[in-house]
Symmetry: C2
Subunit: 201 residues, 2 copies
């Protein structure tokens, strides 16, 4: 399997093999500001690792639950291959893509990790995370390393509560054109920005 | 109180006083398609009614939990005036605004229903809903009438699960410029749309 060669290359297995790409391209991002990445409702790619298996799942049913530590509620159907991986590994990375890789994002949503190595198929690059075994996707402008914090809503709603324990951002991406799902193959891209004095955080 | 005059006018109290505006301007919207309104992550206005009191709360911590019947998980802090109203009334309307009324939306977020009649202050129009006592906001392009379906996550996460029991949409609004919160007074507006063949619903 392709996973094995990656394991042997150590591209994601060992921090010591990190080629510095993440650290050069991406900066650590304050946990207290993570909500601003998730709250606007982007489609995200959830990566998981279990033994030598890596997977990617496309998801947009998520909400912030708490500012700090950042807690994110994510609905991951038990029909998804990632569901079992998450229950076992209890870790993941929430990767936030932009419109530049929209076809890969939708491709990940149209395939299953049960029979496809999505990193291979969609030419996405797994990079070692700092605190979890699940990989960061290099092509995403932000990456949130998460641990499962609460599984009480999994049985009824397939909702995992993740705590973000480490966040990365590409400082070169100023106005990320995040993707937002409208259903039935329709999407919209983040548009104009504006500021209004807000007492909201 | 301003609420009283509205009650006497019957603008929202009685279906029989409905002036037909909602029915003329807005159409019933299939419940099975509600997820496409919520999933892209818009800032929404939650309206509640309790006795003669109406309130509006600005919110963007929400996620779909189920397609049909549509279930939406919404985080409503117990520091908000709407929290108590919701616990008592167990009904609300999720109103989806567009950028045209962004200042009113942020205004609603910066004030409290404890001491402000937000319909009055922000010149928003309450209209009678079909199945709940909470009012529809006429100026919003879509309105989702909801009943509280589950309060088990309220203590820990302030998350209410709402079931949408009736939905309205303004068919004249083709590409709604929904508002998405980025934190610290920054917002983005829904931008370009695109289609990609998706097996996702």
């Amino acid at each position: 399997m392709a996973h094995d060669s990656r394991q042997k290359d150590g591209v994601y297995k060992s921090q010591s093999n990190l080629k510095g790409d993440i650290k050069m391209a991406k900066k650590s991002f304050p946990l207290s500001r993570v909500y601003g990445l998730i709250e606007p409702g982007p489609v995200v790619l959830v990566t998981t690792a279990r033994g030598d298996r890596l997977n990617i799942m496309t998801m947009s049913w998520h909400t912030m639950l708490e500012f700090t530590p950042p807690l994110i509620g994510c609905v991951i159907s038990n029909r998804n291959y990632s569901f079992g991986m998450l229950k076992a590994a209890r870790e993941c990375v929430i990767n936030i893509p932009t419109a530049e890789i929209a076809e890969k994002v939708v491709g990940c949503g149209n395939t299953s990790g049960a029979n496809v190595d999505k990193f291979e198929k969609f030419s996405l690059t797994p990079r070692p995370a700092g605190k979890v075994k699940a990989p960061l996707i290099e092509e995403c402008y932000a990456n949130l390393e998460c641990r499962v914090a609460d599984t009480k809503m999994v049985n009824k709603y397939c909702m995992f509560v993740f705590e973000v324990i480490k966040a990365w951002i590409d400082p070169a991406v100023k106005n990320p054109r995040t993707i937002h799902h409208l259903g039935f193959g329709s999407f919209m891209v983040a548009g104009d920005r504006f500021r209004l004095k807000s007492k909201m955080m």
